[in-house]
């Protein structure tokens, strides 16, 4: 028991002012099912955390439960975005921030690697053009 008589923080407890919604355990089961489906059929799954009502403090508890694994990537794409593989491989946490470091969106993706982390064909083409320009400039000046 904590000082104000609330049950000690566990998987379902929440901040003193708000009662828990009870959504954490079902969420973790959804992730478990998604991992099983990926292993058996290669099917990916995305969960939009914004769409699930969570009481204040519950999202922090969820993130603490998911933890951090081996990969931590920070993208700079019109504001930073953090992509981390959680302590469960195949379960990725993607957090999008705007330029003022406010959270724009948060997703859990169960997949091999989130699509947004991979290089995009359009960007590769644009980069190739820049490289070709740079090389042709270098050749003319060399």
């Amino acid at each position: 028991m904590t000082a104000n008589g609330m049950p000690a923080p566990g998987f379902e407890a929440s901040a003193p002012c708000a009662p828990p919604t009870g959504n954490l355990v079902p969420l973790m089961h959804e992730i478990r099912h998604a991992l099983t489906r990926w292993l058996e059929q290669g099917e990916e799954h995305v969960i939009d955390l914004r769409s699930i009502p969570l009481a204040p403090g519950e999202e922090d508890r969820l993130l603490a439960q998911l933890g951090e694994g081996e990969v931590n990537a920070r993208l700079s794409i019109q504001g930073p975005s953090d992509i981390i593989e959680t302590r469960y491989p195949g379960v990725w946490l993607i957090t999008h921030y705007n330029e003022n470091e406010s959270i724009m969106g948060r997703f859990i993706e169960v997949c091999e690697v989130p699509g947004i982390l991979t290089s995009q064909a359009d960007d590769i083409r644009a980069g190739l053009e820049r490289l070709e320009d740079q090389l042709s400039n270098a050749e003319t000046t060399a």
Binding site: N100, F107, I116, D122, D123
Partner: protein, 362 residues
């Protein structure tokens, strides 16, 4: 002409990577409460989008809706929105003024007749057109003229959607809403005082991507106004348990109990405040300890008082009861006296009691 480029081409030109675009589509889908499976659909549709012309008319308003939109912290999304549209006319934001501005508006209307989007904030004086004019043109005339060539109309804020504060009792300017005046065009109502900025941009993006959204009986997009505050409020367990705050900052209030007794209009208010919240999901009035005003509902200024609970009658019932009692005394005395007189004459005349007398109800 810049207006003929697609959004995808425009973004590429500005060096915005496809990754950034995908991020925008993901966060937009989240904001519009669409499932993640729709993200590729949004991406495919938006990148082919050609910049539509938007004319923004501001009438009897406090500019709060524009402020809400432009003060938004999610600068990236708003920048992209305003880059995807060609904002051809907006009092507060445009550089031109005076007759040059009006001329720009007329040119944009002519060039894009039948295809531009009209966004309106502020209410319109319905009868005496002198109350609010722009460049000598009354609000009503300007609205009807611009609405005639619009593909669709988005009424932003409670003033444009329901009349708002100018419409509140006694409504000295005869203020009416856009839908009171324009009857032959599709109108999307985005009420709120002001509306949540993410909702304003979400509706615009939703409209640009998917066309006219599903609307409720008051013309509001169901995606954002489909649930009441009460049904998504995190304090709902306290309402269900019967734990209420009795006054501001009392014990119950400090424990975060339900604000029904303090006049919360959450049960009858439909908006996204409880889920989307304000200031990029920071908080919303109830979370800050203040009861919901019901600002996205019609006539919320005259809904019986912000601090009067929903179950309480709006008029002075105690006084009515006293007057009724007095009226009853007078009428009752008269009726009672006549009944007594009738009884006494019946006794005097030795009249018999019949079965019909016993069967009488009064």
């Amino acid at each position: 002409m810049s207006k003929d480029k697609t959004l995808g081409e425009t973004l590429q030109e500005r060096g915005i990577s496809r990754r950034s675009f995908l991020k925008f589509c993901a966060t937009t889908a989240s904001m519009m409460a669409l499932p993640p499976a729709m993200i590729p659909v949004i991406a495919a549709t938006l990148e082919k989008l050609r910049r539509p012309s938007v004319i923004w008319l501001s009438f009897q308003e406090c500019t709060g809706c524009t402020e809400s939109l432009t003060r938004s912290h999610s600068a990236t999304i708003e920048d992209l929105i305003f880059d995807t549209i060609s904002l051809d006319y907006h009092h507060t934001l445009q550089a031109a003024s005076g007759s040059a501005a009006e001329q720009a508006r007329e040119e944009a209307m002519q060039e894009n007749y039948g295809n531009y989007i009209l966004v309106v904030d502020g209410s319109i004086p319905g009868e005496n057109n002198g109350y609010s004019t722009i460049a000598g043109i009354s609000n009503k005339d300007m609205l009807l003229e611009v609405a005639a060539g619009a593909a669709a109309i988005v009424a932003v804020g409670s003033c444009a959607t329901f009349g708002g504060i100018p419409h509140a009792d006694p409504n000295p300017t005869g203020a009416v809403s856009v839908s009171d005046l324009v009857k032959d065009k599709a109108i999307v109502n985005v009420p709120g005082c002001p509306p949540i900025p993410a909702v304003i941009t979400g509706v615009l993006v939703q409209f640009l991507t998917f066309g006219l959204p599903e609307l409720d009986q008051l013309g509001r997009p169901a995606a954002f106004y489909g649930n009441s505050i009460h049904d998504r409020c995190y304090r709902r367990p306290f309402y269900d348990k019967g734990l209420f705050a009795n006054s501001f900052d009392d014990e119950g209030a400090k424990k975060g109990w339900c604000l029904f007794k303090l006049g919360c209009k959450g049960p009858t208010t439909y908006n996204a405040c409880a889920t989307t919240k304000w200031n990029d999901g920071t908080s919303f009035p109830i979370e800050a300890g203040h009861p919901c005003l019901g600002c996205s509902e019609p006539d919320f200024w005259d809904a019986g008082g912000f601090y009067k609970a929903l179950s309480i009658p709006t008029e002075d019932i105690g006084k009515t009861a006293v007057y009724a009692g007095a009226a009853g005394l007078i009428a009752g005395a008269a009726i009672g006296a006549s009944l007594r007189a009738r009884k006494q004459s019946a006794v005097k005349n030795h009249e018999r009691v019949t079965i019909d007398d016993l069967d009488q109800e009064s």
